[in-house]
Homo-oligomer: 319 residues x 2
């Protein structure tokens, strides 16, 4: 039997004898092959209908907003999103990249977990559209969507300074994360410029979940010289901070600004550094689609603005 | 060239002439085939490392908790989760089912969006492990994990009745959803048994997002005879209800019980019908793994318990 006959069978073309058809299908199945419509489309120059998104944490509201923005934009183009979580683990990120590519996703959107992006670099070189979002992938020439972390941090510090605070604590995520570094660096720089020399004393990291943040803040508030204000450097840190303040006498007098807006921040009166996470996802998807259409277009680095939204918690004066 | 030779090439076996190897590889590529390691594993009797989860709404905290429970359990077995959203659209659910199966997921976990599950039924018949979660798939003999919706609703109504309420409103999701039907039916039955004959007057549906819920509650509260208590029948309805109460004079006197716990309910003092959504996901994943290992095992229907968690909002007396 010729490969041509096999092709006709597997592409579902008519006029093949039933016995031949069955022989080809059995052989293909025993080889572990299965007709892959998407791969067939690609071979014909088409685009896979699926786009992969490797997120850092499925349970975090920020990533949910990002994913829904990505999905909304993809749908406009008749594409479908598949999401998988690296759980911030670089090894899982690399293995997921492989799994998704093996399954012929047409493009990949990634929040890079680690510093080693060799898996992604290889795929970009091989022609796969890859967009990184929330954090840049160091040393990689990829389309990128991030927010203005430094501008948002500076605005938050300025807001607290303007309300009279000098003893301001910073409660942040894992220190190896790019966003942590950007935000903590700018926090220290802004305070140094304002003449607060020892701001490092109140910088804490490790608040990757609310419980960890809560413990860090309880400890800060129990110190001989507690902070009068807290910059909670992500939405997890903000929730933990609020829990710690509720459980500390006088905690309701401590000023709080949270990085990342969240749905109930409005009801709770929490001042935040806000940005449009859905738009962030939408832009990432837009770049993935544009890169698919034109592999040679100039690499884009999109930086979305942030703004302080005052709602009460960030406007309390120092005790 | 025989299919046997093609098999040897595509499985990467040695001792094939280079020219033959290239001919087979080119032919395979032009046919739209690509060596699929997972499909090959399956053909050899192994299990794909990927499990698909078709969720209803990526941005809803309930689905995030479900997904993280699924993922946690899968990881124990060396498996990886791929999530896609049907956006509660039965057509998208069917097309996603096809896309995921074509990509050789080893099992599928689905929150069924519609009433037609022919796509899923076919796959179960073909041997794919399928678990449905949150809602049963009518007429389908599949492993299922749901919560005790009726028990939770009855407990919430009993709680509000015990605190003196008779004019209790029900603010629910889309009426075609099974969870809506279970909860609203039981709501009406419980009130009827308590001698409240006209409870239908205060039943509202369509609160699939917080904004819609807010509008429904504002309308209820503006009526000549407003409810003194509200059962918000899911987490979206609860957020919208809280927004409406904040924006209504005297709204802080209306009792509220929310179905679904949420992270900040504790800080906000909201009484809820709680259950373990992470555990729900974990059980679904466990069933998928068990079904993969033993396709002939008895179909399981797991019902997880619910409980009322009093936090203040559900204990206010009628005005």
């Amino acid at each position: 039997m010729s490969l041509k006959t096999a092709s006709r069978v597997l592409n579902g073309e008519p006029n093949v004898a039933t016995a031949t058809r069955e022989r080809v299908q059995d052989a293909a199945a025993s080889l572990g092959f299965r007709r892959n419509a998407v791969a067939a489309d690609l071979a014909r120059g088409g685009l896979s209908r699926l786009v992969g998104f490797i997120t850092g944490d499925l349970a975090n509201e920020f990533y949910s907003a990002l994913a829904s923005g990505i999905e909304r934009e993809l749908r406009e183009h008749g594409l479908q999103l598949l999401t998988a979580s690296s759980d911030e683990d670089p090894e899982r990120e690399a293995s997921l990249t492989g799994e998704l590519i093996e399954r012929r996703v047409g493009a990949l959107i990634v929040t890079p977990a680690g510093a080693d992006h060799s898996a992604l670099r290889g795929e970009i070189a091989a022609g796969l559209p890859v967009v990184v979002v929330d954090r840049p992938a160091a040393g990689m020439d990829a389309d990128t969507v991030v927010i203005d972390n430094r501008g948002g941090t500076r605005a938050a510090v300025a807001h607290l300074l303007a309300h009279g605070h000098r003893r301001i604590a910073f409660v942040g995520d894992e220190p190896h994360l790019w966003t942590y570094q950007e935000r903590s660096d700018e926090f220290l720089a802004a305070l140094r410029e304002a003449g607060v020399a020892d701001a490092e004393r109140w910088v804490r990291s490790g608040a990757h979940d609310a419980a960890a943040a809560r413990d860090l803040v309880l400890e800060l508030l129990a110190a001989p010289e507690p902070p009068t204000a807290i910059l909670a450097a992500n939405n997890r840190a903000t929730v933990g901070t609020l829990q710690a303040l509720r459980d500390t006498p006088g905690g309701d007098q401590v000023a709080v600004v949270g990085f990342d807006d969240f749905e109930l921040a409005d009801l709770l009166g929490i001042t935040v550094v806000a940005y449009d996470a859905v738009e962030m996802g939408r832009r990432a998807a837009e770049l993935a689609v544009a890169r698919s259409a034109d592999p040679d277009r100039t690499v884009e680095q999109v930086v979305l603005p942030t703004r302080v939204v005052p709602r009460g918690s960030g406007e309390r004066p120092p005790r």
